[in-house]
């Protein structure tokens, strides 16, 4: 395999983990808690911007000509962590909207417009995050290692994989635990959940904060990889991309969403980037979006649960001794008397 192919594949791997973290975060919102988090891209954006302004150092230097808030040069792990925390913090106001229990499509539209507002505002206000141009020249993790461009990819791939493992730990922990069950119950019927003594708002906030943290982490990783981030990177349609990954792969389960991530953001967008371009520059990207829209419709029609549907959790009592054997027989006996 040629070096450039290896470079390309390792790059795909990095982007896979970055997208995976984000998609798992959205699945916590949507697949588990049932929040139509259609502003999810903003979580990624917030993570990216915060990581950026905490790594870039002072603004308005003759070197960079960028204007932005804050602006310190902290160690990259801290900046990355802060990106995740920023996403978690953003979850709180988003929670206030989710609490209103709007009809599904109203909620989607409200979030969509909020994402649009956020994007337009940040593009207009150059003082916040350097407006439409965005942040550039973000220092990379292990940036002062004296390695070649190709070898650096492995370094970053390892970092991305570690973040993937951390996200897996969080998402799987929540998914298989009693907390995960409460979240799924929240998704099914908020009124029944409340009637059983659990506070729906508190549970929803937990899901939103956890998912928000993952979204922010994904953004921080992304800006550290690409070293740049601007409003054009987070238009509201990007959330649709994540949702497509979840719907196609299968919501409410980590494996399904991982498959969806492989197919949609990686498969359709990144892999095909390398195919021979035809037509005018960007024409291929247009076809990608048409394909994504079409895929969403096709799957919602034929297979709304996705390629790997949510697994049924089968539970049995632990003491399968005499009592276990007796019970079904007793039930059968009584049943036949009816």
């Amino acid at each position: 395999m040629s070096q450039s192919t290896v470079y390309y594949l390792s790059g795909l791997g990095i982007l896979f983990f970055i997208n995976l973290v984000a998609v798992w975060g959205l699945d916590l919102h949507f697949g588990f808690a049932g929040v139509n988090s259609f502003a999810f891209i903003v979580f990624q954006a917030v993570g990216a911007y915060i990581t950026g302004v905490f790594s870039l150092g002072r603004a308005n230097t003759p070197v960079t000509f960028e204007t932005y808030i804050l602006g310190v040069h902290w160690p990259w792990p801290l900046a990355l962590l802060l990106g995740g925390i920023a996403g978690a913090v953003l979850a709180v106001p988003v929670g206030w909207i989710a609490v209103r229990r709007l009809r599904g499509d109203y909620q989607a539209m409200a979030m969509l417009v909020l994402a649009l507002i956020a994007n337009s505002l940040i593009a207009a206000e150059t003082g916040w995050f350097n407006g439409a141009t965005g942040l550039e020249s973000v220092p990379q993790p292990f940036g002062n290692l004296n390695v070649s461009l190709y070898d650096y990819h492995w370094v970053f791939l390892a970092l991305a994989a570690i973040c993937g493992v951390v996200s897996w730990w969080i998402a799987r922990g929540i998914a298989r635990s009693p907390l995960g069950r409460s979240l799924r119950a929240l998704r099914e019927s908020e009124s029944a959940l409340a009637a059983l003594g659990r506070d729906p708002n508190r549970l929803r906030t937990i899901a939103l904060v956890a998912g928000g943290f993952l979204g922010g982490l994904s953004g921080g990783l992304l800006i550290q990889y690409v070293q740049a981030w601007g409003p054009a990177s987070w238009l509201y349609a990007e959330t649709f991309l994540f949702f497509t990954a979840i719907i196609i792969g299968g919501r409410g389960n980590l494996l399904g969403t991982a498959l969806g991530t492989l197919l949609v953001p990686i498969g359709i967008v990144e892999v095909t980037r390398e195919l021979p371009q035809f037509g005018y520059p960007g024409e291929f990207a247009d076809f990608q979006w048409v394909a994504i829209g079409a895929l969403m419709l096709v799957f919602l029609w034929f297979r709304p649960h996705g390629l790997i549907p949510e697994r049924k959790r089968v539970l049995r009592p632990r003491d399968d001794g005499a009592s276990g054997q007796e019970a079904p027989a007793r039930a059968l006996a009584r049943g036949s008397q009816r």
Partner: protein, 263 residues
């Protein structure tokens, strides 16, 4: 004019006390002035024609709606302004008129949700090793299977609740409520739309529970079942309490017969 029955004269307090409740939506006064008591160990019935305000009263008691006037006291505590989950935590568990199970959870999982919230449901436990919640979970699963055995529905344990028939869903709701170890069960039309055989079976279960000391407040339309299960019975019409007493006493009351019982 309220019928003075011996039961009513005795009641100045109860496990559940509703006093002068009133509530309006969008200009309609659904509940005008409702007061009654539920004594421990009874199945108190709440009956009345459609639109009398019965479901609203249940919503007011369970915290789903806020009264514009009046008070609700449960087990000595004022719960008028409490939110639904706070009311449930005190031991007042309700079921719903339209079967309200968690569809994409299995029957076992539904019952597990009925058990009161415990430390295993915390985020900190979720992020830790399985052992941190395994044992508590196993205990609750065993208890759930016991309840299912008692209701003879063990064979449905790992079916999705959403795939069950209407009557079975009601039983799931009832079993789930049992898992909560309630002090008072608020049943909103538990037999509605259930076939007679199953309804009778639910009846038997409720009688068993009452004999074990469970208190219940039941809204129901099926008068034969009400007659069999409930004493006393509160009759509502047009948002207020018309009368209260046993079925025999109510059948002797002309007002009640005119408003509801007669044909």
């Amino acid at each position: 004019m309220k019928l003075e029955t011996p039961a009513r004269r005795r009641a100045t307090t109860g496990l559940l006390e509703a006093s002068s409740l009133a509530c309006s939506f969008g200009g309609v006064r659904a509940v005008v002035d409702v007061s009654f008591f539920v004594q421990p160990g009874t199945i108190t019935g709440l009956i009345g024609p459609n639109g009398a305000g019965k479901s609203t009263v249940i919503d007011l008691i369970s915290g789903r709606a806020r009264p514009s006037a009046g008070r609700v006291r449960f087990d000595g505590e004022d719960i008028t302004a409490s939110k639904p989950h706070e009311v449930a935590r005190r031991g007042l568990i309700r079921t719903f008129q339209k079967a309200n199970v968690f569809n994409r959870l299995t029957v076992v999982e539904n019952l597990l949700m009925g058990a009161p919230e415990w430390e295993g449901e915390r985020l900190s436990r979720a992020l830790g090793p399985r052992a941190w919640w395994r044992r508590g979970e196993d205990e609750r699963v065993s208890r759930a299977f016991e309840v299912m055995r008692r209701f003879e529905l063990e064979h449905l344990a790992n079916h999705y609740a959403g795939s069950l028939s209407g009557g079975q869903k009601r039983l799931v709701e009832l079993m789930r409520a049992m898992m909560a170890g309630p002090k008072l069960l608020l049943l909103d039309e538990p037999m509605a739309g259930v076939n007679p055989t199953l309804a009778l079976s639910i009846c038997e279960r409720l009688e068993e529970l009452r004999d074990e000391g469970m208190t219940m407040l039941m809204v129901e339309h099926e008068l034969r079942l009400v007659e069999r299960l409930c004493d006393p019975i509160v009759v509502m019409a047009h948002g207020s309490v018309l009368a209260e007493g046993s079925m025999a006493e109510l059948q002797a009351n002309e007002q009640v017969v005119d408003a509801y019982l007669g044909d």
